[in-house]
């Protein structure tokens, strides 16, 4: 079968279990205390419960839901950062993650050096980054600060640089997690435009947001997660309306 006709992302019956007690047990004393209290074995928490869906090439899919509903966990499972407790996930292509802009930056290095470092994190060598260097600078509007250490940047400037790098380098799947909230209005508009033009070029997008308007504008399909369960999956407008109604009536 031609790999291009298979879905780009397949999520099969994924559950993600966190052991809350285990996470905090870091010293022997705490461990013993918890063992005596018998708190070590329960306190299980399911961030995702048997979630399945597929995303086809060229689709723009939004994940919506309240805080703690498992959206970011889902993205991390798809990005390959977390292994699901049960179930499986397949991604047939490269991923450009924008889960937190500037996560790959070293604060002591300059913007110029960080562009190469972040490019390498996404798997691109120096020659490739040389080619794209100018348009990254152009888009981020940081030409005057190119040799300034990133620790002196404002959070908005870091977000610009991170967004410029992540969207400049081509990937099959772009994963965007609430990153547009940082920049100013003009830059947000610019980012939306760029995402739209990337979608027109056939990039697949996974988008996490609370902002129903942005979801309706960018995405054709939405998946609503609620306490780790998939509540709805369908056309963005319908799912957003359902979600908003549930929120208003206090059922979400």
């Amino acid at each position: 079968m031609d790999p291009n006709t298979l879905p780009l992302v397949e999520v099969n019956d994924v559950s993600m279990r966190f052991n809350l007690a285990q996470e905090k047990t870091e010293t022997l004393k705490e461990y013993v205390v918890k063992l005596l209290k018998g708190k070590l074995l329960f306190n299980e928490f399911y961030a995702l419960k048997h979630v399945s869906f597929t995303v086809n090439r060229g689709e723009a899919v939004a994940l919506i839901g309240r805080n703690g509903s498992g959206k970011s966990t889902m993205l991390k499972v798809i990005a390959g950062v977390m292994y699901p407790s049960t179930g499986s996930r397949v991604v047939r292509g490269t991923i450009a993650p924008m889960i937190e802009l500037g996560a790959g930056f070293d604060m002591d290095l300059t913007a110029r050096e960080n562009i190469y470092l972040n490019g390498a994190v996404l798997g691109h060598d120096r020659a490739y980054m040389d080619e794209h260097f100018d348009s990254i600078i152009e888009f981020s509007e940081l030409r005057d600060f190119i040799d300034v250490p990133v620790k002196n940047f404002s959070s908005g400037m870091i977000a610009r640089l991170g967004f410029a790098i992540a969207t400049e380098v081509r990937a099959d799947l772009l994963v965007v997690d609430e990153v547009l909230a940082v920049g100013d209005f003009m830059f947000q508009q610019k980012c939306m435009k760029r995402l739209e033009s990337m979608l027109a070029d056939g990039t697949t997008l996974l988008f996490v947001s609370h902002d129903s308007n942005a979801v309706r504008k960018l995405c054709s399909r939405a998946i609503w997660l609620d306490h780790g369960d998939k509540r709805a999956d369908g056309p963005a407008d319908e799912v957003c309306t359902l979600y908003e109604e549930a929120m208003r009536s206090g059922k979400a």
Binding site: Y83, V121, G123, R126
Partner: protein, 266 residues
């Protein structure tokens, strides 16, 4: 993780190729950050071992008596190799927990972090070899042809350090106490390695025990080649190779077993 060690070794090598640019960037970052804003920059990599050698020569020649010929060279050979081990083990140890922010957000094969730290230390050590050469010229040490083989012990030590760094970095994720424990351990290890004293000074049983100290073999081989123009017997070479390859294999196994759940603990 159900696949055999063979296929995961294959994947390891494939990853190594794909992410070679990242290792390159991380190493150059380490070196840049290390000497950023210092006046002499990379010169410190040469100057530091020289100053250390001068200090130790003064201490150990005047305060304690020893009759090692060309003591400054004897010292700096041992120090250079041990500093490389010490630095790569200690930097490797924290490499995973320090890069937690990145590991939580982007998929990167995680062994890249300890490995790039070891490579950074290796590059620093390569600069320090200039200091060794300077000491040889200053003290008029004869230049034997065996010096051309100096890279063999360094290469085996590199494998050994990679193994140590892989094992320590993954264990530290689960037992943060390793950080504190290991600094004491390396200090003990340093005293247990003939860096500033001759092996012959030790009692018989300790000399036998020394055969199990890989650092002794690397330093011994290096000194034989560089200082004495002497090719040691096959046992020394074998010890160096077995310790290097063996430690790397152990490191990879431990790391492979533990890396899956890193994300839950960092």
């Amino acid at each position: 993780m159900k696949d055999s060690f063979g296929t995961s070794l294959e994947r390891f090598l494939a990853h190594l190729k794909t992410y070679q640019p990242l290792i390159h960037e991380l190493v150059s970052r380490d070196l840049k950050v290390k000497y950023r804003r210092s006046f002499l920059g990379y010169v410190w990599s040469i100057l530091n071992p020289l100053l250390m050698m001068v200090l130790q020569t003064i201490i150990f020649s005047f305060m304690f008596r020893n009759d090692i010929p060309n003591y400054p060279l004897y010292l700096i050979c041992g120090n250079t190799l041990f500093t490389f081990f010490n630095e790569s083990a200690n930097m490797g140890l924290t490499s995973i927990i320090y890069n937690a922010a990145l590991i939580k957000k982007v998929y990167i094969p995680k062994f890249i972090f300890p490995l790039s730290r070891v490579v950074s230390s290796f590059v620093t050590m390569s600069f320090s070899l200039v200091a060794v050469l300077l000491v040889m010229l200053f003290t008029g040490s004869p230049l034997h042809w065996t010096i051309l083989l100096f890279w063999v012990p360094l290469l085996f030590e590199l494998l050994f350090c990679c193994g140590i760094a892989l094992a320590l970095s993954s264990l530290t994720v689960y037992f943060r106490d390793m950080q504190h424990l290991f600094s004491v351990l390396t200090l003990g290890w340093m005293y247990a390695t003939p860096i500033f004293y001759p092996l012959e000074q030790l009692p018989g049983f300790a000399q036998t025990l020394m055969k199990f100290n890989p650092m002794y073999h690397y330093i011994n081989l290096f000194r034989n080649l560089v200082m004495y123009g002497n090719i040691p017997g096959p046992n020394t070479w074998l010890a160096c190779a077995v310790a290097g390859v063996g430690m790397l294999a152990i490191g990879l196994l431990v790391f492979r077993k533990l890396q899956r759940n890193f994300i839950l603990y960092i």
